[in-house]
């Protein structure tokens, strides 16, 4: 594989290679994640972007083996480096093993799209938080309580002692997402996976939550994997970006390169399709041609070719491009950038 050594020197927290997660449905097999490689460096924020259905959420769910039937991780490795020589391949663990459960919530915390339904309405905020704390830390009930209240304070919830005994339905959406973040970070994880954490919130709350995540990252030093379709959020939050299309990573680079020197036609098209203040005189927005193909009928060759404006007729329809490395921290999967040595 062409990118095998590219991060040898950097401190890699999570190394995903050749990840394939398929859904076996009656209508056929949906290859939601079809050979994804990327790495998450320790302590940084990495953004995963792409249209709906590109497999970004399934990738995130695969990392904690949360993909439900009929979905299944078919191939690949997800190696978590918890420090020193402690490496675990999460993809190889049993889905209900003690080892995996110790990673879930302890090494890797996760927050979700829907704060309104992500907490159980049957139990208090305090119960749900201390449950996580007591699963992973060797503490007594009242120590767990103190820890939970401390975390509620850290995520900016006013009067945390009272909120500890509140039920989630007594809180607003923004407050619930703060509780989710407090819960996910309560065991001091090395990675926080945030699956579209602000999609269901109103705009002002979105900004607050994102700011909170940045502030907590400075405080706790965890890496963040931010799944989003909002490129504005990516520009503000992330240092590195992974662009996905139809279950594949089409381009990965640092945030400046993605925004100022994108190489994959899909990345370029994505950037052209977002409205920008002060650019209205340029006229109409350029939407990406067509729509995401039917998951049961993936296009042959490069999956993006039916929508691509720079198609090389005769090649793109038949040849599936390999990953090309443009420079050490910039990879792209496109025939326009075929590696002359590959």
């Amino acid at each position: 594989m062409s990118n095998s050594n590219h991060n040898a020197g950097a401190d890699i927290l999570l190394d995903i290679r050749g990840l394939k997660t398929y859904f076996h449905l009656d209508e056929g097999t949906v290859r939601a994640v079809d050979g994804v490689d990327f790495t998450v460096p320790r302590g940084t924020t990495i953004g995963i972007v792409g249209e709906s259905g590109c497999g970004k959420s399934v990738t995130a769910f695969s990392i904690l083996q949360l993909v439900e039937k009929p979905g299944r991780i078919e191939e690949g490795s997800i190696v978590l480096n918890t420090g020193g020589q402690n490496r675990v391949d999460i993809a190889a663990l049993d889905h209900d093993s003690e080892e995996l459960r110790q990673i879930r919530g302890k090494d890797i915390g996760m927050i979700f799209q829907e704060p309104m339904t992500s907490l159980s309405m049957m139990y208090t905020v305090g119960f749900q938080m201390t449950e996580a704390i007591r699963l992973h830390m060797d503490v007594e009930k009242d120590e767990a309580r103190d820890r939970a209240i401390e975390m509620l304070q850290a995520v900016g919830i006013p009067r945390p002692e009272q909120r500890f005994d509140a039920y989630p339905f007594e809180l607003s959406g923004g407050m619930r997402q703060r509780v989710m973040i407090a819960m996910a970070l309560s065991c001091d994880p090395m990675l926080l996976i945030a699956d579209e954490p602000t999609t269901a919130l109103d705009v002002t709350t979105q900004a607050q939550i994102l700011e909170l995540m940045q502030q907590l990252q400075e405080e706790f030093g965890m890496a963040i994997m931010l799944i989003t379709h909002d490129l504005g959020v990516v520009a503000e939050m992330c240092s590195e970006v992974v662009v996905m299309y139809l279950g594949e990573v089409v381009e990965q680079a640092d945030v400046d390169t993605i925004f100022h020197n994108p190489q994959h036609p899909y990345t370029q098209a994505l950037l052209e399709s977002i409205p920008r203040l002060g650019h209205s005189h340029e006229g109409r927005l350029n939407p990406i041609l067509g729509s995401v193909p039917d998951p049961y009928h993936r296009p042959s060759g490069c999956p993006f070719h039916p929508r691509c404006t720079q198609i090389i007729t005769g090649r793109c329809e038949t040849v599936h491009p390999e990953i090309s490395r443009l420079d050490p921290r910039h990879t792209v999967r496109c025939l326009l950038h075929e590696d002359p040595h590959g």
């Binding site: 879930r104 159980s120 749900q128």
Partner: protein, 328 residues
């Protein structure tokens, strides 16, 4: 919470009052009364009843007066003296006849509800978490059979086969030697040995229904985001299923207690007749046929009160179980 329960208890009073009027009204609806039945019975046997005797009986029981006067007298005696009136057919005070029967009915009903819940909870949970597996299909298959086969038929079959195969008669709640014996350890064991049969028979349809309800509810809940959150926290799968989705799926289960109770009481009449159980069913049937109005009325009243209490219990349980109800 206490305020909520108090509120509910206060609301019960007008409900029971309304029910009692309705009961009495319905019992009075058919033309004639016990005396008409009594006279007809005697004349069928070729005897005649002197007019004077009829008039005397009519006065004694207030039968000739308007229904609301009769109702008022009846209620007054119940509330002030605990006197439910007199059964004409048995020629005994109603209260001598009913309490034993009510007690057995309650015993059988409660045990049946517990049986239904426990069996349905475990099978329903299994069927939902193993959807479309062999076990799920088997549970579904027996579930539909249980729903479709009438209870009395099940009772008849059981009686027939236990007599054919084992020479035993499982009817009644006691073996003949204990029937009129005073309570003893032996009698209790004998009771328990007989009790499971009506419980299983009466519980079959309820269990089948409850399994379907729990399975459907649990399937709705199993893939909700809060379940995934709990899994992402590292909660073990077994704990997780019971603690989160099952807890929510139990709601409709609890709220059915309200109608499961009266259903078991009234639905068990035919089974009780077939199995010769000393419950309220057969006695109520007889009382209704013979227009033994105080006996029938008292039964219906008490069963209604039990239903109202059952609903109250289910509401309190529900509020205890689900904070959303408790807080609204």
């Amino acid at each position: 919470m206490i305020q909520y329960i108090l509120h509910r208890v206060l609301l019960m009073i007008p409900t029971v009052f309304g029910i009692s009027i309705l009961c009495f009204g319905i019992i009075q609806l058919p033309p004639g009364d016990f005396l008409t039945f009594y006279v007809a019975e005697l004349s069928a046997q070729g005897e005649s009843v002197p007019e004077a005797q009829i008039a005397q009986l009519e006065r004694q029981y207030g039968l000739g007066r308007p229904w609301y006067v009769q109702y008022f007298l009846w209620m007054k005696n119940i509330i002030t003296k605990g006197d439910f009136g007199r059964s004409f057919t048995w020629n005994k005070p109603v209260s001598d006849l009913i309490w034993d029967r009510i007690a057995f009915t309650m015993l059988i009903t409660l045990l049946t509800v517990v049986f239904v819940w426990i069996v349905a909870l475990f099978i329903g949970k299994y069927a939902a978490t193993h959807q479309y597996s062999l076990g799920d299909y088997i549970a579904t298959f027996f579930g539909f059979i249980g729903l479709a086969v009438p209870n009395f038929l099940l009772a008849l079959l059981l009686l027939y086969y236990s007599l054919q195969l084992f020479g035993l008669s499982p009817a009644g709640l006691f073996s003949p030697e204990y029937q009129d014996a005073p309570w003893s350890v032996g009698k209790w064991i004998d009771l328990l040995a007989h009790l499971w049969i009506p419980i299983v028979i009466l519980g079959t349809a309820g269990t089948a229904g409850a399994i379907r309800i729990l399975r459907a509810n649990l399937l709705d809940e199993l893939h909700k985001p809060y379940v995934i959150t709990a899994r992402a926290k590292g909660v073990p799968e077994r704990t997780l299923i019971w603690r989160y989705p099952v807890r929510v799926a139990l709601n409709p289960f609890i709220s059915t207690v309200g109608w499961t109770l009266p259903d078991l009481v009234s639905g068990s009449i035919i089974v009780s007749v077939v199995l010769n159980l000393p419950t309220t069913g057969p006695l109520l049937l007889g009382a209704l046929l013979q227009q033994d109005m105080f006996l029938a009325g008292s039964f219906i009243l008490l069963v209604s009160v039990l239903t109202v209490i059952g609903t109250l219990i289910s509401d309190v349980l529900l509020a205890w179980l689900d904070p959303r109800i408790r807080f609204s």
